[in-house]
């Protein structure tokens, strides 16, 4: 591990710089925070074995999604995308414009310190990102994640709704919020859907809801 550090001290320093920017405290009104909504497409569900195929993200500032900062990156595959290709509609041949994961992550660290990360069913995305950071940077940054799936679950529980199977999948959530449903399994389209859902969830909760409340609801 130390040998790696000596090889990539610059990357390691990026993590430290990112961590230096304070995150908003738990009592900050949630509507005032900055968010980066992201989605990953993966070759499988095992963070240790499988790989990130693509990343999409868009920031939310003052409750506005900034499409000018929407990004979508195909990630260079260390091995063939293989069997999961059908699943996310990508083939090896599509990946020739792909970026190196480390470059993409470096850009993310540079652009979005102080942002809260948001994803739908964030556990998987977070696990993959953490392992990727470990591998390429020697350390995972301090990232705060909110989960629109769990927030939705919490919201529906509170309303006393009975939940059908699939009720918490992103398309079903979007339909429930009367939001446009976009193509599935494309990292940026899904991140956009997740961002819309999150904006709606923010509006549907009481106006003084804090970041801490949303963290609780994200569990």
């Amino acid at each position: 591990m130390f040998g790696w550090l000596q090889k990539n001290p610059e990357l390691y320093a990026e993590i430290l710089t990112f961590n230096q920017v304070a995150l908003p405290s738990a009592d900050t009104p949630a509507r005032e925070c900055r968010y980066l909504v992201l989605d990953l497409e993966l070759t499988g569900l095992n963070a240790k074995q499988d790989h990130i195929v693509s990343i999409g993200w868009l920031p939310i500032v003052e409750q506005h999604i900034r499409l000018s900062e929407a990004r979508h990156y195909l990630i260079e595959a260390p091995v063939s995308v293989g069997q999961s290709a059908i699943y996310h509609g990508l083939h090896d041949s599509d990946l020739k414009d792909a970026q190196e994961l480390a470059d993409v992550l470096q850009f993310l660290l540079k652009q979005y310190p102080g942002y809260i990360f948001v994803a739908h069913h964030c556990r998987l995305d977070r696990a993959f990102l953490q392992i990727a950071f470990q591998r390429h940077f020697g350390k995972a940054p301090r990232m705060l994640f909110l989960d629109t799936l769990n927030i939705e679950y919490h919201r529906l529980q509170k309303l006393g709704s009975r939940l059908a199977t699939d009720a918490l999948r992103l398309p079903q959530c979007l339909a429930r919020h009367h939001l446009p449903v976009s193509a599935q399994h494309h990292a940026l389209e899904d991140a956009y859907g997740c961002a819309l859902l999150f904006l709606s969830q923010l509006k549907k909760s009481h106006s003084a809801i804090t970041l801490g409340d949303l963290q609780l609801h994200s569990r």
Binding site: Q63, L67, S68, A70, P180, E189, Y192, L199
Partner: protein
């Protein structure tokens, strides 16, 4: 990088459907997305083009009038972007949805790049000016190009102020356009020469560039005249360069604007006060219909128009009284010329008849009586010649029963109030809306004070309220309009008898019950709300309903007179748009509600 969901939507939305894929992607990437919740007021103060993605948004004018509802693919904010003029409209979200905001820079860039998109928004803006009323018939609004002289008098910025002064003298103008490389860089006015050259003792060889007003406000040739007026008053300037596709075309000055507004009420009223004969007044009054049409073109709302029409009737009355005094000599005692009904309420329409009377300091006997009989006759007949027809009910100062001393009037009102037979109330309710037009205000105040001290009598209020309940809004049980004949006209809705009057009647009951001095219906409602007598929600609803009905009647009258007909209150609901029909039904429902509240409050068994 574009979000396909967004660019797909834009690709299906006019006018962006003309853009190629790459251009759509650029547009999509410039947007900010916002989720709006029902009840939220959309912040429309920023320079952004709003594109409705989903949801429903109601647009209200500053008169709280519903202009339109915005839905998927609709736009807002282009007026501010195109003209720099904010409106006072309010955009309220009615159903949750997504809004796209396109920042000003991106909007303008697109507009300059794609002529068709520019034209689309210019047209949209043009239509919006008319959105105020969707209307039948042809009515145009004056544009800058209608009055700006197509005469461009310009000088190069490097020329001397002396050359500029010579050019201005030669061309007999008070201002010059200053150009350099065919671009407008400033303007120079008489005043600049005086205050920046002469007063500062600058040499005649000073270049114009150094003393001009750089980067002046400008107006597009195709803009509406009222926009020019707004710009002039907003920036306190008297000269506006007129531009045609970014190139200077001419100059428009406040004098040009004033000249074009000769039929403006201010001029007509000034004109009236200069007349020395009834013939002259009659001639002035022939401009009233024309003035009404111009007010219509200038989108003046009905209540303001009603106020203006009333002011003109007042002016005619005042001038006739003066002329009578010139003819018959000064009045032998102090008097107040009273008006009643709509003139008193300042919401007169163009088909109103006379309702007036005289309040005298002394008893009208002997010479005093004779003098005021002559004066009243002179004025009433004069008004009739000016198009304000004689009152069929003989509520006029020319009627000897309506020329009385304070004691006489006070006794008359006291009898109406203390023994309120239905018949007496029906005849007298009009007198309770009263205002002084000419003569002594003190005398009038004494009478009004005396009346208001008596009106809070439950039997009187009961009768007054019951009279106000005799007519109902023309809405059937199934919420359909009930049409009626009025003899000579076709079937229709009588906007006055079955609408406006019902509201003034209701409001009068409340005002008299509470000793409120205001006579104007809107002002009465404001007082009733301020004094906590009626719920603010209710007074606002009534006020809105009143505005809607008055606006429909005003539009109807304008339509009638523009067709050369007499103004009629009878409206055929078939000519209404869906929105207007909806508003009208709402207004009638408000009247029904207000009538039953009033019944509950003032018509309980005694």
């Amino acid at each position: 990088m574009e979000v396909a969901e967004v660019s797909k939507f834009l690709a299906h939305t006019t006018p962006f459907d003309q853009l190629a894929e790459g251009q759509l992607a650029d547009l999509a990437a410039a947007l900010n997305v916002y989720y709006c919740q029902a009840g939220e007021t959309v912040d429309n103060s920023t320079e952004n083009l709003l594109i409705v993605r989903t949801g429903i948004y109601a647009l209200y004018s500053d008169q709280q009038q519903l202009l339109t509802k915005l839905e998927e693919g609709d736009f807002y904010g282009y007026q501010l972007l195109l003209t720099g003029l904010a409106d006072n409209d309010q955009l309220i979200c009615e159903e949750d949805g997504l809004l796209f905001w396109l920042p000003a820079t991106a909007f303008h860039q697109m507009r300059y790049q794609y002529k068709n998109i520019d034209i689309f928004f210019q047209r949209l803006f043009g239509r919006r000016l008319h959105q105020y009323k969707e209307q039948q018939g042809s009515r145009f609004t004056l544009k800058v190009s209608d009055i700006a002289q197509a005469r461009k008098i310009a000088i190069h910025g490097e020329q001397t102020v002396q050359a500029a002064a010579q050019l201005m003298t030669e061309k007999r103008v008070s201002s010059l356009l200053i150009e350099q490389d065919e671009r407008l860089i400033g303007i120079l006015t008489d005043r600049d020469l005086r205050s920046r050259v002469l007063a500062d003792n600058l040499p005649a060889a000073t270049p114009v560039k150094e003393v001009m007003t750089p980067k002046p406000q400008t107006i597009d040739k195709h803009a509406y005249l009222f926009e020019a007026v707004q710009l002039m008053s907003r920036f306190n300037v008297h000269h506006l360069p007129v531009m045609d596709q970014g190139i200077s075309y001419g100059m428009i000055t406040t004098t040009d604007v004033i000249r074009s507004q000769q039929d403006h009420p201010v001029y007509l009223i000034g004109e009236i006060h200069r007349q020395t004969s009834i013939d002259g007044l009659e001639h002035c009054s022939m401009q009233i219909n024309n003035l009404a049409l111009i007010l219509g073109k200038q989108q003046v709302p009905a209540y303001e128009a009603g106020h203006i029409i009333t002011t003109i009737t007042d002016a005619l009355t005042q001038r006739l009284i003066k002329l009578a005094q010139i003819e018959f000599g000064p009045a032998p005692c102090v008097f107040s010329w009273l008006c009643f009904g709509s003139q008193a309420r300042m919401d007169q329409s163009i088909n109103a008849d006379q309702d007036n009377a005289l309040l005298l300091e002394k008893e009208p006997s002997g010479e005093i009586g004779e003098y005021f009989a002559k004066l009243a006759d002179f004025v009433c007949q004069g008004l009739a010649r000016c198009g304000i027809t004689l009152c069929p009910g003989n509520i006029m100062a020319s009627n000897p029963e309506l020329r009385m001393s304070l004691k006489g009037w006070s006794g008359k009102f006291a009898r109406w109030i203390s023994s309120p037979t239905p018949d007496a109330i029906l005849k007298s309710s009009i007198f309770f809306d009263m205002r002084v037009v000419e003569g002594s205000k003190g005398l009038f105040n004494a009478l009004q004070h005396d009346i208001l001290a008596r009106t809070n009598q439950s039997l009187f209020l009961l009768q007054l309220a019951q009279t106000a309940l005799q007519r109902t809004a023309p809405l059937s049980f199934l919420k359909n309009f009930i049409l009626e004949h009025d003899g000579k006209h076709k079937k229709g809705l009588d906007l006055k008898k079955r609408g406006i009057s019902l509201i003034t009647d209701i409001v009068r009951v409340y005002a008299l019950a509470n000793g409120i001095q205001e006579v104007n219906t809107r002002q009465r409602l404001e007082r009733l709300a301020a004094d906590g007598i009626m719920e603010t929600k209710d007074t606002q609803n009534l006020s809105d309903a009143f505005d809607i009905l008055a606006q429909l009647r005003w539009d109807k009258h304008l339509h009638d007179i523009s067709q050369g007909h007499e103004a009629s209150n009878l409206l055929d609901p078939a000519v209404l748009s869906g929105l207007q029909r909806h508003q009208l039904k709402d207004s009638f429902a408000v009247i029904n509600g207000a009538q039953s509240s009033m019944k509950h409050r003032y018509c309980r068994e005694m």
